[in-house]
Subunit: 143 residues, 4 copies
């Protein structure tokens, strides 16, 4: 199954809605299963740095099939995978990137949020992920 | 004046509408005055190659403040700027990239379209540009 | 549907068999639908240049969903897409790259061959493609 | 002496066999003495991130003629070679990359494994290395 524009739109709109509630200007990136851009929205006022960060968080999530912050467990200084963060053109192993899954639980893409603090970006990402799941996974009981 | 999300949305929606009329699946890229991504939409069915091409057409347009195909005049084989196309990480000097201007005629960004033939992409780009101008330039008599 | 290791193996083995018949040493690259490496084999004696060329031919094929040489129609000097070959980090728009399709005709990857002359590489690529089709498309009448 | 396809095949097959025993999906990369790809296999289910990581581990091993994790001694924070990890386009100084040597003990390439935890990747790498040594170094008493 391929990530659709309709699905990307739900991610963009729900992320922006949550960011607005938090008073944030963020960049929202949506990548497909191959880490290619499907959609991107930079809200007015978001800093330029967030474009690359949002894409990189989503890329980290899809490449490892894990939340971006989970990748930190593998590359933190006391972990054995020293400098893992330098692979794949540079990872963003901190909160804000979440894989998106199809009905069969296969990863079909990922979303990435950047613009606020890491906890804020994570909150926006989770809100978008929840909206995506609510809309496209009616028949599944767990994510 | 900075390109707004509202303006980018008009470009995305009008380009997609024209592409649908032509039976095309395209990538629509909107860059700001600094050639940074403001918005991107990849329609379902567009080939992956079009992501980079659409961004590059828009980039060519904003970097030279000219339609992407106009840059061809400077880098075509018989012109004196040999290999100009290799600058700026590679130009896309063919139809589909158009600068976007503010009320004071200053360039505030550009749009780029890729997915059909060059004439088709150019047609989609012009439709999006026209929609942008109609919506945001009511008081100006020329573009 | 995702390209499998079993499918990649058929491509590698059938390409190598044809290359041996032609007395060639080639590089065989197999990419997935997102242009990521699935498998690569460099036969003994193949020149180093062929690694990048084989990958790039396959990448050109999967990004455009077309045989690599077909992309030449778009970027040849008299065509309107001037310097299209500079997009996507550099195309290889000449024979030897062929998209691989699943039972539903969706592109699931591509193969790329480099090491001989372009006609030889194309012949090896076609032999590998034919073996892939014969093995994995029993119920379909046309490719 | 140059690394042969026959040798690469032994590495691919023995690494895959050990990975299967451990229930892992890994990427196996084999580079030659010049750090150029000789062979690569991505097992079904391996995450995309592992392609770059496996190649980089093998690259780290062949460039330093040492096991990838041994390079950590040179670039760890308290060592004097600050930011050594940024050289050579980024090192992967953790377990899973092992140099391959010819009968005269000269380095002829390296293998890299990624897909499991670092200890698991290291175990798979060692199994492949042992199979390589057993097959191609019958007359030598030490590696």
């Amino acid at each position: 199954m391929q990530l659709t524009s309709q699905q990307a739109q739900v991610v963009l709109d729900s992320a922006e809605a949550r960011a607005r509630e938090l008073g944030l200007s963020v960049v929202i990136a949506v990548l497909d299963a191959g880490a290619h851009l499907k959609a991107l929205r930079r809200m007015d006022g978001a800093v330029l740095a967030s474009i690359d960060i949002a894409i990189r968080k989503a890329s980290t999530a899809v490449l490892f099939q894990a939340n971006s912050e989970a990748v930190w467990d593998y590359c933190k200084p006391e972990a054995p995978a020293h400098f893992l963060e330098l692979t794949n053109r540079g990872l963003a192993p901190f909160g804000g990137g979440i894989p998106l899954k199809g009905p069969d639980s296969a990863v079909i893409g990922a979303l990435g949020i950047s613009g606020g603090t890491v906890p804020q970006d994570t909150e926006v990402a989770q809100a978008a992920f929840a909206a995506f799941e609510a809309r496209f996974k009616p028949a599944r009981s767990n994510a």
